[in-house]
Symmetry: C2
Subunit: 435 residues, 2 copies
């Protein structure tokens, strides 16, 4: 194998008999061997299990059993998501060695689809802001972002074709963007959360990270269903609502340049750019989001934090402290604000509006002391609308920038088709050096 | 008019040309004149407006315009529900004279259905536990219950054919039961809350009080829609799940006697009685219900209570204080418990289980210092399942007892048909003395 295929490509080659799942998994394991000592994307690898499963899928395909487009595709699973028989440690010593009895709902769906699970990818502690040891494949001196650090880095480094992440603030879109790959946070509720360690039940989402939008489409189809029918309509150049306020105002020069030249490229390809403004309620989104996250995390960790407060790192510990001392009326007010914002974003986007903005404020920051700033992502997590990031250009320091697109609640298909159109026009070809 | 007809009877007589809405409204106004000085069921009466509307509906019917079964029917509206042009004072000096600009959603539906609105009925202060001055028509030394005190008393005293009430704990079912009439709290969300002064947004319900289940059916049809089709199936004797635990264990002797003899009567008429047990999560329902109510009420009254805490009476003031000092994790825990209880009650009832229990712990208590105990009703408000009360017998002291029936979420039609079957077999004929 000269270079690692995308899921779309691999799926087609496998069906044509031109690629065996056995070779594909071997290639991924070699990449892991070659690079993970430096990148730390994985918590655990089940090489023997993956080889066995790849062989089984190879044989099933030979015998005519087609389980769908993920059959034989090697994937990673963020270590807050249960895989039966493997520990789910969520980056915390508190859960060390806690073996999951059952697959999470999403993992069960992947397994039924014939996917080959390579292992668990690194998460920050309880999927919050305290950095893990994972490094960015584009430059190991930089963070890969978080909290789905390992999933994004593993996909970017070609160690797997796709991976599951999760997002409560910006934990799928941010690392995917920092690592120059594509990520999807679907409409809240579309992908089942059973078997995933909770951060905040009103905000948690599970979603896929992969190298292109076509791959996200296949992953969503398996873990969250796919309603086909209306996609054809979106092959024409889309209208894109550009949100300058907050996003383009706050991002750094490198991200602004990358975003503006991506928008210009899309416009030249025929996209219509409409400038759009945020609803009044956007102003309080970040504080209200923080309030809900703190309270619900504090509730989820109540007993454990009371027993072993010192077993929590700085950021998550402070979040839990904050949640424990929050008054109920403030939380209740936040829940109502979340509902209001959701309605106002619904009005802003209308039936089929797709808005675009940078995926992050800066490219991946230098150092591993921080996983970067989720503030360009958390509003959409809070609203529950689908969001996707696609790589759109390179910053002068050689790190990728992501373009974030959002669509109305439930319009995941629309979002994916529009993102696919944009991705094709943007032709982002760069790859991490040394990989 | 010899005796006041039910809505079902009046509706039919009006359509046959044998009763005019003009005479009907006149009869109600006479009853109000004769008894309200003693009973205090009404906050305000719009006699001129009601006469004008009755005449208009009379003329419309003559000219062939049929607006449905409530056309020309005189009704009362609890004074926490907006009627355009009338004050909504919610029993509080804080809202004195505050005239509503628009009809509440339910009032708009009644108006479109040609109902004649007589006036506003007494509510306890902000629909909570501080008693109002309304008296029980069966014995003015006793409370009519609350918080829909005026609506229940007015219907029982024949001052109107039906009335709107609301329930956050037991504010429809309890006063209806204490006053020997029928009341319905439909599935949460079925009847729109727009234009109703909130107590607690996760618990509030609006619903009708009337003299028989057939009348509740017509009222629900107008304010909450009616999906017909499956009713025929319920003309056969129903299966009834009897909940002995908590309810039959805690009620007083009079209520127990009335309930057991009602159940015996229903069994003899062919109903199958099945004994049923409550889910584990029932144990914490009352404290969790209180927590949610306190927090959400405190949020709704936040500014007003901060400015004028002394303008609130004892019970509502204590509730708001409690809500303000509740921690968010406890409220969050309660919201999750509410969801769990809702699911477990759904499992307990299954597809079409109807459970029966006493509507209240005792008949209407003596004195006006308390509106009685809502604890037999609040679990079903909390779960959001539909509940109905029908009068089922008399206590030795001459006060009526109610039988409460509940059904699965969304099965309001089933509940009403089963309640109608029970009502017919129980043949409760008593009327308040002196009315």
């Amino acid at each position: 194998m000269e270079s690692l295929p995308t899921i779309v490509e691999a799926s087609s080659l496998i069906r044509q008999g031109r690629l065996s799942p056995v070779d594909l998994v071997e290639h991924c394991l070699q990449q892991i061997d070659a690079h993970d000592g430096r990148l730390h994307a994985w918590v655990r690898i089940d090489a023997a299990g993956a080889r066995r499963e790849a062989r089984r899928q190879h044989d099933l395909l030979r015998s005519g059993t087609d389980l769908g487009p993920l059959q034989g595709i090697p994937l990673g699973v963020k270590d807050i998501i249960d895989v039966a028989g493997w520990p789910t440690e969520a980056g915390s010593p508190l859960l060390a060695g806690r073996v999951a009895a059952e697959d999470a709902a999403v993992v069960g769906r992947l397994r039924n689809g014939g996917a080959v699970l390579l292992g668990k990818t690194v998460t920050t502690e309880f999927a919050f802001l305290d950095p893990a040891s994972t490094r960015n494949p584009w430059n190991p001196e930089h963070t890969p972002g978080g909290s789905s650090s390992g999933s994004a880095a593993a996909v970017a480094a070609g160690m797997c074709l796709g991976a599951l992440g999760s997002q409560t603030g910006g934990s799928i879109i941010r690392p995917a963007s920092y690592c120059g790959v594509a990520g999807l946070k679907a409409t809240r509720g579309r992908i089942e959360m059973r078997g995933v360690v909770p951060v905040s039940r009103s905000l948690d989402h599970v979603g896929p990270i992969a190298r292109c939008v076509g791959d996200l489409r296949l992953l969503l189809g398996t873990i969250g269903g796919w309603s086909s029918g209306s996609e054809a309509a979106y092959c024409t150049p889309p209208k894109l609502m550009v949100i300058r306020e907050y996003f383009l105002d706050r991002c750094d020069e490198a991200v602004r340049e990358a975003t503006l030249s991506a928008l210009e490229c899309l416009q030249q390809a025929g996209a219509e750019l409409i400038s759009s403004t945020l609803p009044e309620s956007f102003r309080n989104v970040h504080s209200m989001h923080r309030c809900i996250m703190a309270v619900e995390a504090a509730e989820a960790h109540f007993d454990s934090f009371a027993r072993q407060p010192d077993a929590y790192s700085q950021h998550i510990g402070a979040l839990l402290e904050e949640g424990l001392t929050t008054f109920a009326v403030d939380y209740s007010l936040s829940l109502r604000h979340q509902q209001l914002f959701r309605e106002q974003i619904g009005q802003m986007l209308g039936e089929d509006g797709v808005a675009v903005m940078p995926a992050t404020m800066t490219p991946a920051p230098r150092g591993l002391e921080s996983t970067g700033d989720p503030s360009f992502n958390s509003p959409w997590t809070y609203a529950g609308v689908p969001a996707v990031t696609i790589p759109c250009g390179m910053a002068p320091d050689g790190l990728p920038c992501g373009l974030q697109l959002i669509a109305p609640e439930g319009r995941d298909e629309l979002l994916i088709e529009v993102a696919r159109w944009c991705e094709e026009k943007l032709e982002f070809q760069d790859k991490p050096p040394l990989i």
